[in-house]
């Protein structure tokens, strides 16, 4: 199971990095989205992958790792997801404004000289 997720993270990272290095702004946005999935999954996986572990504590009881999942990576990833959304929105708007100002959707604001 770990292998599946690890390969999945690898594929997401590879696709993300490939797109990140492309010249068009839309490709970069999509690339960053894929990269952030990969990063989130990676952070999440540091807590260990456990299917069927309880995520919610029994009331009145101090939880132990033996019975429950590790909440810390989850909390980190949760904020990362929301921040990721905000920065994607910001990037999109900046790129749209840049496209309006420069007339091109090349990441440098001008087409490469041929």
């Amino acid at each position: 199971m770990e292998l599946v997720v690890a390969i999945g993270i690898g594929v997401l990272t590879g696709s993300g990095v490939w797109l990140l290095l492309r010249p068009r702004t839309f490709q970069v946005i999509i690339g960053l989205a894929l990269l952030s999935y990969a990063a989130n999954l990676f952070i999440f996986s540091t807590g260990g992958l456990r299917s069927g572990a309880a995520a919610i504590l029994e009331p009145g009881e101090a939880g132990t790792l033996a019975r429950y999942t590790d909440p810390l990576p989850q909390a980190l990833v949760l904020t990362a997801i929301v921040i990721g959304f905000a920065t994607t929105a910001l990037l999109l708007v900046v790129l749209l404004a840049a496209r309006g100002l420069t007339g091109t959707d090349h990441v440098d604001g001008r087409e490469r000289e041929r």
């Binding site: 199971m1 770990e2 292998l3 599946v4 390969i7 999945g8 690898g10 594929v11 590879g14 696709s15 993300g16 990095v17 490939w18 990140l20 290095l21 010249p23 490709q27 999509i30 690339g31 894929l34 999954l41 990676f42 999440f44 996986s45 260990g48 456990r50 299917s51 572990a53 995520a55 919610i56 504590l57 029994e58 009331p59 101090a62 939880g63 132990t64 790792l65 429950y68 999942t69 590790d70 909440p71 989850q74 909390a75 949760l78 904020t79 997801i81 921040i83 905000a86 929105a89 910001l90 999109l92 900046v94 749209l96 404004a97 496209r99 309006g100 100002l101 007339g103 990441v107 440098d108």
Partner: protein, 971 residues
Amino acid sequence: MPDAVLLLALVGLPFAAAITAGLLPIGARDLASGLAGAVALIGLALVWTAYPTVSEGGVLRAELAWMPGLGLNLVLRMDGFAWLFAGMVSGIGALVVLYARYYMSADDPVPRFFAFLLAFMGSMTGVVISGNLIQLAFFWELTSLFSFLLIGYWHHTAAARDGARMALTVTAAGGLALFGGILVLGHIVGSYDLDIVLAAGDRIREHPLYLPALLLVVLGALTKSAQFPFHFWLPHAMAAPTPVSAYLHSATLVKAGVFLLARLWPVMAGTDAWTWTVGLAGLITLLIGAYIAIFQNDLKGLLAYSTISHLGLITLLLGLKSELALVAAVFHIINHAAFKCSLFMAAGIIDHETGTRDIRRLSGLNQTMPFTARLAMVAAAAMAGVPLLNGFISKEMFFAEALSATVPVSPLLNILPLAAMLASAFSVVYSLRFIHGAFFGPVPKDLPRTPHEPASWMRFPVEILVLTCIMVGLLPAATVGPYLAVAVRSVLGDDVPYYSLAVWHGFNLPLLMSLIALAGGVAIYLLLQRRLSGMEGPPLLRRLEGQRIFERVMVFLSWRLARRLEGVIGTRRLQPQLRLIVGIAILAGAATAWLRGFGPGNLLPSPVDPVLALVWTVGAACALGAAWLAKFHRLAALILVGGVGLVVCVTFVWFSAPDLALTQLTVEVVTTVLLLLGLRWLPKRVQIPGERGPEVLTRTRRLRDLALAIGSGAGLAALSFAVMTRTPPELLAQHFLERAYTEGGGTNAVNVILVDFRGFDTLGEIFVVAAVALTTYALLRRFRPAPDSVELPEQQRDQAAEAAAAGHGEAGRVADWLLVPFTLTRLLFPVMLIVAVFLLLRGHDLPGGGFSAGMVVAIAIILQYMIGGTDWTEDRLRLRPQLWVGTGLLVASGTGLAAWLFGRPFMTSYFAYAELPVIGKVPTASALIFDIGVFALVVGATLLMLIALAHQSVRGHRASPRRAAASAGDD
């Protein structure tokens, strides 16, 4: 008065008064000068009350805890030496304030001047009574800063700006070196406390790091005291108002360097390295400064170079391995302050009353301002070392030291007395030039103003200082003797050598040297007199202009070198930069793996579940498809990214993270809608007809990127596999799990971490989200699309045409075609809101919380927009996202602040369970209120971004004007 109060008042009063003076109205010259004078006099009185203690060898000390954990405390410490300097700073400060009251024109913003002057006074006092070296460096830099402001006081003149900039660059750079030296010293000694450092002399001198520490400290001292080769800033600082020159550039600021050298003399001096660096710099400066001073045509320029030369003398004395030389140095510090300050004031009076400081234009002022002339003559005679004046006595001591000095190399030993005599003769020459040039000769014509005596109060400070020169010169032991003894004893401790302060020591070699120097100086002046006024700058040394070198270095560093470096290693193109970052990341990961070893962990991987494997096959295919299609078909790529998001979401569910899955799902929807809204403003792909496959260069570039992509993907896959097969560290997880319910009052540990344990982080995060939302909103308000995106897209035009044909009104709405979804969406709206409230309320105990609830509300509203259309929705719903954002931030921060009301630290939470009718038991932790703040913010921020972008489609656009013309040519 307790020591602590006295010392704190001594440093604090000037700063407090500086702020007060800065707030005075611009014309309040008398008020500002009165305030400054009062502060200086109070300072003097405070210093005086400390005399009984320090005269018995005592030390006043005040210590305030600052960063005790780092061994750093705010320590104020006044021993005899610091006492002497503090007295000079306050005493001469009071005289300068009086002088400045009459010197400064009522047209200038005088309160600002006094504000700077007072702040400088405080900083300088801070330097001399700091009992902690780091604190000393801090005040040291403050003196540089206020010196900069004072030199640049008349900032409308270019000379003032350039002089100020140069002084700041040189002295602040030196201050940085000093700070480095102090850190090394602190490292050697293990403490920055001056008392401890002063007790660790042997350890410092024998430490392998002694030389770096010495060089850095000396660099700081030499730049501050304008010693060769850093002397060039001082003449340019003469653009300052003359009171500033009299105060900073003769008596205080430039003395900070020699103060520091004397302060650290007991622990750093005595080595060959010290003598070579300090002594040699002093010797060169002594000669060069005196030589150049002869050829100055500006009165203040002459005094500036003479100051450089005298500071060189003091530095040279400090560089010699002799206690007596230190006594002479301290004595000369006092004497120089007295005569040079009065000379600067006299030069200022001449400038003030005649309108010029050019020696070539001035003459015969003896007849129009006889009092000033007499005062200046006495002061200049003291500078030249004429007997019966104070300069003579310290010069005699200098000669005696030069004769008996023990320096490392014998040639230097032999030239030292000669050099001393030569410099002394030079000082006679420039003193004569000052006096003869300004006061003798025919009555001047065509001066800018008619010369006359100044206001008597303006002359008063000069009178006091000149009187000091005479008194010390006549009765050295009775006047300055006790204070000098106190100062010297506090530096040297019990090693104070025998010295005699007397005018007449019998007919000895130093006296002979003095007489030769006097006679020689007069002779040189008589020889040069006629030619001097025709000369521009000193012969032989004309090319040695530190200023030009400085400017060249500055231009080289800040312009040429920077440009060249940018040309070599910089690029403005994004792709190479990103390639570099990715490449370095891969290398860093690979290097760590190679150095530290790498392999699978201790846990056996769990068996592969075919369902999840299938899900991830789809996920990987979606990712690869998105990577491929992002160029050719944006919509398809976007849909595929959505697919990847769903797979990630399923993975979260699979591995027991319901909260993450919920948030991921909602964010996925919002992100997709957002990107969909953006698609409309991106250009169509232009296929150049007849173009064959990509060029070779492009193909190699792609291969390289592919390698980078595969490398990073494989690396992260291997890394995550290695991480997942190791037992995760338990410390933190255990901590949070144990306390989530017992101390946080919630069973959903993730949510409790977010809103309680790490609530401050979340608060920061929502501020970021708010800032981002406002930024996107602001950017979109001035949004100008590219010319080819202004028109309605093809699809919308077709739709409108069809709608018109079918008689559905002008625009035609989605609702007309999609009636069933439209109805369903309207019905779903209240349901979604209830779901959101449900998620919000149960968040503390069950999956949910402010983030996902906020997203659900945003989705509910955006759905109405999508199906009903912007106008239809806004007719019915009055949304004010900014209000939501603001309320959210206020509620969240307010919850955090409320803890203060109960005397708890910021963001402390409280919880209890409340019994509500119908609904039942509800957790009412204060964290819930915080979560409501988060919820409101997420709703507001998300809507603000989405609606701002959506509105671009319905508002009229003008194309970006600049590009409209340009792109016409492109297409």
